[in-house]
């Protein structure tokens, strides 16, 4: 039996088509994926992301612990700054990707819904020997993502924070429609936007307040379908597709968050150092297909008659109106422009490695 987020009734009222996802009944679409996708790129959309997992890390060794279990460097975070990071196993495979929020006295981790139980168990196991306490607060947190070029003027109408002063990947505690919450300038779409974390008992109030304030900006609810197509146009990783326990952050193109020179040890460091020294054998690339062909996960990639990789994510890109995808390909074939083929129902369809993000006009604020 799937769980319901605090916005379940609102989704039904808005005509959401509900599907099971990561143990929850979530809206996959409202008006239609393409329409919703384009709406977020041009106006504003509201995503229920309450299924995401939240974990608090407290105690004198919180920083040391977070640094040990993640590949990025949390010591580089200022207070109220957010960091994209990943947790690795000792063999360099990825446990999960996550956001790390730095508070004065503790850290707030936001992890994938589908990995929450695994992540929490993994963190508890690693926490032995550290003076820290971990708390899974997922059921006490409602989360909405307000995304799109109109997100700031919309939210500013009902928020007491000066949003124009909040930079990309920073957060603050403030009031939205009088309700205290965490507001961060983060998102998974490539457009400007905010993520709001608050008491689920205020769910209906905040939902209504956002839609009332959003009327002049044509705010619409957006489902998981468009969430996936929006993130893939940016080549943002999705766990279970682009990254998993068999892929390392270096292979996944996440070298930019993997701080091999940060002080102290971290889980996976030894293997990642070795991968870096020896060079990785495969790499996650973005690619386009020719014609009316659409890549899907697990399709095989070929070059000169031999298999050279496998598709990780694939979608019809509503912004570019063509098939786009990501895939792990032999490192020597990963250069932009490299031609190869994708096997689709027995046919080899011409493809080539392209520069990413696929969508380059996003309004997302750069750090």
């Amino acid at each position: 039996m799937e769980k319901k987020t605090p916005f379940y009734q609102q989704h039904l009222a808005a005509g959401g088509k509900m599907v099971p996802f990561a143990g929850y009944l979530m809206p996959v679409q409202f008006a239609g994926i393409i329409e919703e996708h384009r709406h977020v790129r041009t106006k504003a959309g509201l995503f229920d992301v309450s299924h995401m997992g939240e974990i608090e890390v407290r105690g004198p060794e919180a920083l040391k612990f977070v640094s040990c279990v993640t590949v990025n460097d949390p010591a580089a975070l200022a207070l109220r700054q957010v960091q994209y990071s990943a947790m690795c196993y000792p063999d360099g495979g990825i446990v999960d990707d996550l956001l790390v929020y730095r508070y004065p006295e503790h850290f707030f981790l936001v992890v994938n819904a589908s990995n929450l139980d695994k992540d929490f168990a993994w963190l508890q196991e690693q926490a032995k020997g550290f003076d820290v306490s971990l708390k899974n607060t997922s059921d006490q947190v409602a989360q909405l993502a307000l995304q799109g070029p109109k997100a700031e003027p919309l939210l500013q109408k009902i928020c007491d924070l000066k949003l124009s002063e909040m930079k990309f990947y920073w957060f603050a505690t403030g009031k939205v429609d009088g309700v205290e919450m965490l507001v961060s300038r983060t998102g998974y779409t490539g457009e400007d936007g905010f993520e709001l974390y608050f008491d689920p008992r205020q769910a209906d109030r905040i939902w209504q307040a956002l839609f009332a304030a959003g009327q002049e900006f044509e705010l619409r609810p957006i489902g998981l379908g468009a969430r996936d197509s929006l993130r893939l146009e940016m080549k943002y990783a999705l766990y279970g597709h682009d990254i998993d326990q068999t892929t390392s952050p270096l292979e996944a193109g996440l070298g930019w968050i993997t701080k091999l020179k940060k002080p102290g040890d971290f889980i996976g460091k030894e293997v990642l150092l070795k991968q870096k020294a020896e060079g990785i054998k495969r790499k996650l690339v973005g690619f386009e297909l020719e014609g009316n062909a659409f890549p899907r996960q697990h399709y095989k990639m070929f070059k000169d008659g031999a298999q050279v990789g496998e598709v990780a994510s694939g979608v019809f890109s509503p912004s570019l109106s063509k098939g786009i995808g990501t895939g792990y390909i032999k490192a020597e074939l990963s250069a932009v422009g490299t031609p190869f083929q994708v096997e689709i129902r027995g046919k080899l369809i011409p493809a080539r490695v392209v520069e990413t993000p696929f969508w380059k006009q996003g309004t997302v604020k750069k750090a």
């Binding site: 679409q29 994926i33 393409i34 329409e35 379908g225 996936d228 197509s229 009316n292 659409f294 019809f316």
Partner: protein, 128 residues
């Protein structure tokens, strides 16, 4: 959701409108809704032989691809070429402008194996 009563239905969500030895074929509004926005319909060439229950093409939605199965056996007499440029006609008008094929039936008696609207309506669609 209601289903036109002048059509026959397959368990894999295709409909057929049978007129003599010619059947017009498409997918149901239910199937189109499940797939979401349809972005490409791959249809066989005119003259291709198709067999009841066997794939004749594919339909690509934003996130997923699905086989299209022939509800009846025969030879493809015509395809809806409008779907090439406007595949979303399948979402907008599944039983009208969203039709896919006309099949010249080799065995019109096969129609007895298809469901009528009431039986299709009653079928557990999420189990299939």
């Amino acid at each position: 959701m209601s289903f036109p009563t002048d059509l026959k239905y397959s368990a894999s969500h295709e409909w057929a409108k049978i007129e003599g030895d010619l059947a017009t074929v498409g997918i149901t509004d239910f199937a189109a809704g499940e797939l979401g926005d349809i972005v490409f319909v791959e249809l066989p060439a005119v003259g291709t032989k198709v067999s009841a229950g066997k794939p004749f093409g594919t339909v690509e939605a934003v996130k997923a691809v699905s086989d299209l199965n022939a509800p009846l056996s025969g030879e493809v007499a015509e395809i809806n070429s409008n779907l090439e440029a406007t595949p979303d006609l399948v979402n907008k008008d599944a039983y009208g402008q969203g039709w896919m094929l006309k099949i010249k039936l080799s065995d019109p008696a096969e129609a007895a194996k298809l469901m009528d609207a009431a039986a299709y309506d009653a079928m557990d669609k999420h189990g299939h």
